[in-house]
């Protein structure tokens, strides 16, 4: 089913971020920036999942646009974390 193909990767992303958040060294300022970005990814993943919960979201064009936008934002933030350190 199409939904699982999107939701499962998001949950995996969230789990990965949480793992990183707990294991990162966070006294250095680069470490803190990476922490901030991964926490943002975690929270945006949650927002995405809620959008799916609100069923109107996945059936309307506007809702789909939101979901795509959030997904792209998450990817952008993940990529930018590579440039921070």
């Amino acid at each position: 089913m199409r939904i699982e193909r999107v939701l499962v990767p998001i949950l995996i992303l969230q789990a990965l971020s949480v793992f990183l958040l707990w294991t990162l060294n966070s006294v250095s300022s680069a470490g803190q920036d990476v922490f901030t970005l991964f926490l943002a990814v975690d929270l945006l993943g949650f927002v995405l999942v809620i959008q799916f919960y609100r069923s109107a979201a996945w059936s309307s064009v506007q809702g789909k646009a939101w979901i795509v936008a959030l997904g792209l934002a998450m990817i952008a933030i993940l990529v930018s974390s590579l440039f921070v350190s």
């Binding site: 089913m1 939904i3 949950l11 969230q14 971020s17 707990w22 809620i50 799916f52």
Partner: protein, 208 residues
């Protein structure tokens, strides 16, 4: 907000989404909880090496000293109190023109109380039955008595070891400087150890 109850495929979908929402919420909360790491003591996790050199700090000037009138000062950290005394009699570790200026940690080696200075022939307010013939440090908590004319050796009471002595010196202008500590370590800093660099950890160095 599910507003299409309809078909069985939708039911399965809704089931899965409910699980996903719960898992996602738990992960989001778990991520936020990671901020709690900030309540871990940074000293323990600090990446910077522990200090090993004692600061040189001016305490007072010899001209302001009065016999049996102690001067309080913090050294080497801003939470470690000490007293500096002009004893009025020559002692082996005393400095100054009369070799009678000494300084000791003011933290009792028994359980960490702050003791008071008792000139010879006086009684502390907390124990009027005690009177010493020499200048001593009397600790009101449990009655430890330190002989300040003899390197703060324990005369009586439960203290297990003498007080740490502050290494002091006088310059040509009469200014008295604290420069280091002699063993044992100050109470609360690897108590009982002879490694005086422990006195430099657990607070902010005094500076001037």
């Amino acid at each position: 907000m599910p507003d299409n109850p309809g078909k069985p495929a939708d039911d399965e979908r809704r089931t899965f989404i409910r699980i996903a929402v719960t898992a996602s919420a738990a992960l989001a909360a778990g991520g936020i909880a990671a901020i709690g790491k900030s309540i871990i003591n940074p000293q323990l996790a600090s990446e910077s090496p522990a200090p090993t050199t004692f600061p040189r700090v001016k305490v007072t000037n010899v001209s302001t000293l009065v016999v049996n009138s102690p001067v309080s000062f913090y050294y080497p950290l801003d939470n470690e109190p000490n007293i500096l005394l002009k004893l009025g009699e020559k002692v082996s570790s005393g400095i100054g023109p009369d070799s009678d200026i000494v300084a000791f940690s003011q933290v009792c080696q028994h359980l960490g109380c702050t003791y008071g200075f008792q000139p010879a022939g006086t009684s502390p307010n907390c124990n009027k039955t005690f009177q010493s013939s020499k200048p001593v440090g009397y600790c009101c908590c449990h009655g430890s008595v330190y002989d300040l004319t003899n390197d703060a050796q324990v005369i009586s009471g439960p203290a297990p070891r003498p007080l740490p002595r502050v290494i002091i010196e006088i310059d040509s202008a009469g200014d008295i400087y604290a420069m280091g500590m002699t063993p044992p370590t100050i109470f609360g800093h690897a108590t009982g150890s002879t490694d005086v660099t422990q006195d430099l950890q657990g607070g902010n160095l005094v500076s001037q």
